[in-house]
């Protein structure tokens, strides 16, 4: 097993300047290590900082102190201090993120939304669309919707398009922020399958899952966080 993520002495607080400068500490001195083929679940009460930690790993949240070393193309990159263009490069090739919310782009059809991460890697349009179609079919998005822009889809459909997009590029690291929230049982089972497959292929996964059944099905280890 190769260590893919190494978090050391990570601290994060939010300072709300528009609300009198209130400081909300989230976590301090956090440590976490995740290797290939593992799915580590962040577990703890609401407000313990699970989503904030995931977002820090993705470079979407800026920690106050500490390091987030990610293995990118064989070398360590500290997401906490890397330049924006380096973080974007790591996201393109190494770091995937699956959340329940799709940020729909006007006019871009669902099939292209899903294929985009592959296109960014230089995969040709035909192969990228084939992979995108397979994922959409697995997640039960009817083929007649593939060529429509997801802005008009229902919440659940948009969520599944976003999940397909997250799994499309087979990133070596996948961050999962409640991907199964509000999915029905059949689609939940598909996501559990996709996670299992990513693990088998050697991806390192970190996730937050509120659903006990999903958590038990996918976790190789629980990382407990206290608020």
């Amino acid at each position: 097993m190769t260590v893919m993520i190494e978090v050391a002495a990570l601290s994060k607080s939010y300072v709300l300047h528009t609300q009198g400068g209130v400081e909300i500490p989230v976590f301090a001195g956090a440590a976490l290590s995740v290797g290939t083929g593992e799915c580590v679940t962040l577990h703890g009460p609401s407000g313990a900082g699970k989503s904030t930690l995931l977002r820090c790993l993705y470079g979407n949240c800026k920690p106050d102190a500490g390091a987030i070393r990610v293995r990118h193309e064989g070398a360590a990159v500290d997401i906490a201090s890397a330049a924006p263009r380096v973080v974007l490069e790591v996201r393109k090739r190494t770091l995937g993120y699956v959340s329940q919310f799709l940020r729909a782009i006007p006019r871009v059809p669902a099939l292209d939304v899903v294929a985009e991460p592959l296109r960014a890697l230089g995969v040709d349009a035909e192969a990228a669309r084939t992979r995108a179609g397979e994922l959409l079919a697995r997640l039960r998005i009817p083929e007649r919707m593939w060529h429509l822009a997801p802005a008009t889809f229902s919440g659940g459909e948009q969520q599944r398009v976003n999940i397909a997009r997250g799994f499309a590029a087979r990133h070596p690291i996948l961050l999962l922020d409640e991907p199964t929230a509000s999915l029905d049982a059949r689609n939940r089972a598909v996501v559990i399958d996709l996670i299992g497959q990513a693990k088998d292929e050697g991806a390192a996964l970190v996730g937050v899952f509120h659903d006990d059944e999903v958590r038990e099905a996918v976790s190789t280890r629980i990382h407990s966080m206290q608020g």
Partner: protein
């Protein structure tokens, strides 16, 4: 690897008033940087200095020229600066009328840029102009029409075609979607996003619209009263803003 643009300590004063103050950053090939901030924060002044249309009071703007590598553009001779503007750069103005010649046809507006860099074959120029009109989704039948007969959204797309036809490496955009209604904006944004990605363009985009910044820019610079108060990856600056002013900007946006 060399940055395309290196800005160091750039300051521009208007008499005793600050236009922009002590701005430093590097822009890399293929990178799109957004400059956000409210009206009067110095965004357009900075863009003017970056694109050599305004002289800075102090500081330097170096551009990676094909002949000499990083060169201070404000120290270049006027002919070389003009050549750079025609070959390497594009400037998309907020008001397309500032970037187009309203008295000549749409095709000529696009073809003119090609002629400025040495194209002479009429048929080839017309064919390329037609091709670019198609890329920006303007009906080929309109090639001989005057821009005066175009809608605001079409004018903006024509201005983009005029700028991109010569394959610039760097493009400056000042509020490219300002003044357009939302459905027209969406179309333009999708088009810009695709062209920038397909052509591997670097761009500096000034906007006060955070949604536009999120869609187009890889990284952001937040300006207030002429100074840069926060920089970073676009989604990080918008989702986890640190400076009080950025927090105010982000929290002031109305959700539709």
């Amino acid at each position: 690897m060399t940055p395309l643009l290196r800005v160091s300590g750039l300051t521009r004063m208007y008499g005793g008033r600050v236009g922009c103050k002590d701005v430093s950053f590097e822009l890399w090939p293929g990178e799109v940087m957004g400059i956000v901030g409210e009206s009067g924060s110095g965004k357009t002044t900075l863009l003017g200095c970056l694109s050599a249309r305004l002289d800075p009071s102090s500081g330097t703007v170096e551009y990676d020229t094909r002949e000499d590598g990083l060169t201070d553009i404000h120290a270049l001779s006027e002919p070389r600066r003009r050549m750079l503007m025609r070959t390497d750069w594009g400037i998309v103005h907020q008001n397309p009328r500032d970037g187009l010649r309203m008295g000549v046809s749409a095709g000529a507006n696009v073809g003119e840029r090609l002629m400025a860099v040495g194209a002479r074959h009429y048929g080839a120029i017309r064919a390329q102009a037609g091709e670019w009109l198609r890329k920006v989704e303007i009906d080929a039948e309109r090639i001989d029409d005057l821009p005066l007969t175009f809608s605001g959204g079409m004018l903006q797309r024509l201005q983009i075609a005029r700028n991109l036809v010569t394959h610039p490496r760097l493009i400056f955009m000042d509020e490219p979607t300002g003044g357009l209604d939302v459905s027209v904006q969406a179309r333009l944004l999708d088009l810009l996003r695709r062209l920038v990605t397909d052509l591997g363009l670097a761009a500096v985009v000034v906007t006060h619209d955070l949604a536009v910044a999120r869609l187009l820019a890889h990284r952001l610079m937040v300006m207030r009263r002429g100074e840069v108060v926060e920089t970073g990856l676009t989604d990080q600056v918008l989702d986890d803003p640190h400076h009080p002013y950025t927090q105010l900007l982000v929290s002031s946006v109305l959700q539709p």
